[in-house]
């Protein structure tokens, strides 16, 4: 057994090793050409009405989007129409946080508020129509999300007279993680980000599309 293998194995060795090497180098080259071993950025998952998203600091259910009319309270007031997005937000952190408002176009905030995590809302609304955001409390409003409590949050835009609401609203939703800061070792909740060229942008955890329901009362 030893003798035949020694006789026939010797000429094979110089063939196998370079062949394997060549295959490896080619594979490495192809991998490098296709962008290395980094995970290819996946498109964020698409979520719909009623879905629940874990945002780290918040656990959020996207309840619905609707058109609502607020009746005038006094004779000097007028009826107001809003496109509302309704969320059920549970603060899973240790402390009370603020509801916040979604960042106004072009100015990406990295706030740890719930509103700050609605990174992009499309279609765009004119600047003077909002967004407004608040938490519903019994018979009133609040700007606070208390820890461990499920709160209904409304984000809304005002519609002008005769303005048609969009058929659906799509939101890019970010998330948060509890980590030490960039140059500060204390740990805190920060928005999950990724680098895009020379800037840093929030990482989109999911894209949520809600159909806008027509006003039931109108």
């Amino acid at each position: 057994m030893t003798e035949p293998s020694g006789g026939s194995g010797r000429p094979r060795r110089p063939v196998v090793v370079p062949a394997v090497a060549l295959v490896l180098v080619t594979a490495l080259g192809i991998t490098a050409l296709m962008g290395g071993l980094n995970e290819a950025p996946d498109a964020p998952p698409q979520l719909g009405k009623g879905s629940v998203l874990d945002q780290g600091l918040y656990s959020t259910r996207f309840v619905e989007s609707r058109v609502r009319t607020e009746r005038a309270q006094t004779q000097f007031d007028e009826d107001k129409r809003f496109v509302e997005m309704v969320f059920e937000v549970t603060n899973r952190g240790d402390g009370t946080t603020s509801v916040g408002i979604p960042p106004v176009d072009g100015k990406t905030g990295f706030a740890t508020t719930f509103g700050g995590s609605l990174v992009k809302i499309s279609p765009k609304f004119p600047d003077d129509s909002g967004p407004f955001a608040f938490a519903l409390a019994k018979g009133g409003e609040s700007r606070q999300l208390h820890p461990g409590i499920k709160t209904t949050v409304i984000v809304r835009y005002r519609l002008r007279e005769g303005q048609k609401p969009p058929e659906k609203i799509t939101m890019d939703v970010g998330s948060f993680e509890y980590v030490a800061g960039f140059n500060d070792p204390t740990e805190r909740w920060t928005m999950v980000t990724q680098s895009a060229g020379e800037t840093i942008v929030p990482e989109v955890k999911a894209q949520v599309t809600l159909p806008v329901q027509e006003d039931a009362t109108a």
């Binding site: 019994k138 018979g139 009133g140 609040s142 606070q144 820890p147 204390t186």
Partner: protein
């Protein structure tokens, strides 16, 4: 068994000479054990080290209900507390809740210069921090009043919390947040002294309406 005697014997015998001194072999084992113990202790102590968040935390002065707690810069005393289902903020405005409003009556004075108190937080037994509610205007709370040296001022603070947050809860008073970051700010942590039963009793019989309207 002098120290000199075994050594000449050990040189020709090489290593085998060492175990002849049984006391020495024992001390080596003991030394090794002691070393391990010390190293283990040192490693163990590291687990007690403060985290970065704890190192930067405020200086907390603790106390109980009714006690004058000296935080060096100011004094706080928690006089009483009560629970309510609704708070009448003005003749036309009453805020209601499905949870509970915890109304805390506190007194405060400063030591050297005037201060405002910040809105307090309610620290629950499981480590949650509830900020004072924003549904009652801050102007109706003690935070709106100046604390002067040696003049006690009294007022209320309002929390909106679920009944489950009450057992073992503490109220934490501090100075209002400022743009200037100051490490080791003083804060006063006062235990409400609510055990399971007392918390249940408090939550079971809240006032229907707690009025803060000035007559």
């Amino acid at each position: 068994m002098t120290a000199v005697q075994p050594r000449p014997a050990a040189v020709p015998g090489g290593r085998r000479g060492r175990p002849t001194g049984s006391g020495r072999g024992g001390s080596r084992v003991l030394n090794a054990l002691l070393g391990l113990l010390l190293a283990g202790g040192a490693v163990g102590l590291q687990t007690l080290a403060l985290s970065e968040n704890d190192t930067g935390a405020p200086l907390t002065y603790t106390g109980a209900k009714g006690q004058d707690v000296d935080a060096r810069r100011f004094h706080v005393r928690l006089d009483s507390f009560t629970a309510a289902k609704a708070i009448q903020a003005s003749s036309v405005k009453t805020v209601e809740t499905d949870n509970l409003f915890l109304v805390v009556n506190a007194s405060a004075k400063s030591s050297l210069k005037p201060y405002h108190l910040g809105q307090p937080t309610l620290l629950t037994e499981d480590g949650h921090r509830f900020a004072a509610t924003d549904r009652v205007e801050a102007t109706a709370t003690l935070a709106a009043t100046w604390m002067q040296p040696d003049i006690w001022v009294s007022g209320r603070f309002f929390f909106e919390v679920p009944a489950s947050a009450l057992p073992g809860a503490k109220v934490v008073f501090g100075l209002p947040p400022s743009a200037l970051v100051e490490p080791y700010q003083p804060e006063v942590e006062i235990d409400l002294g609510l055990d399971e039963k007392a918390a249940r009793d408090l939550a079971a019989k809240p006032q229907d309406v707690y009025s803060i309207v000035k007559k």
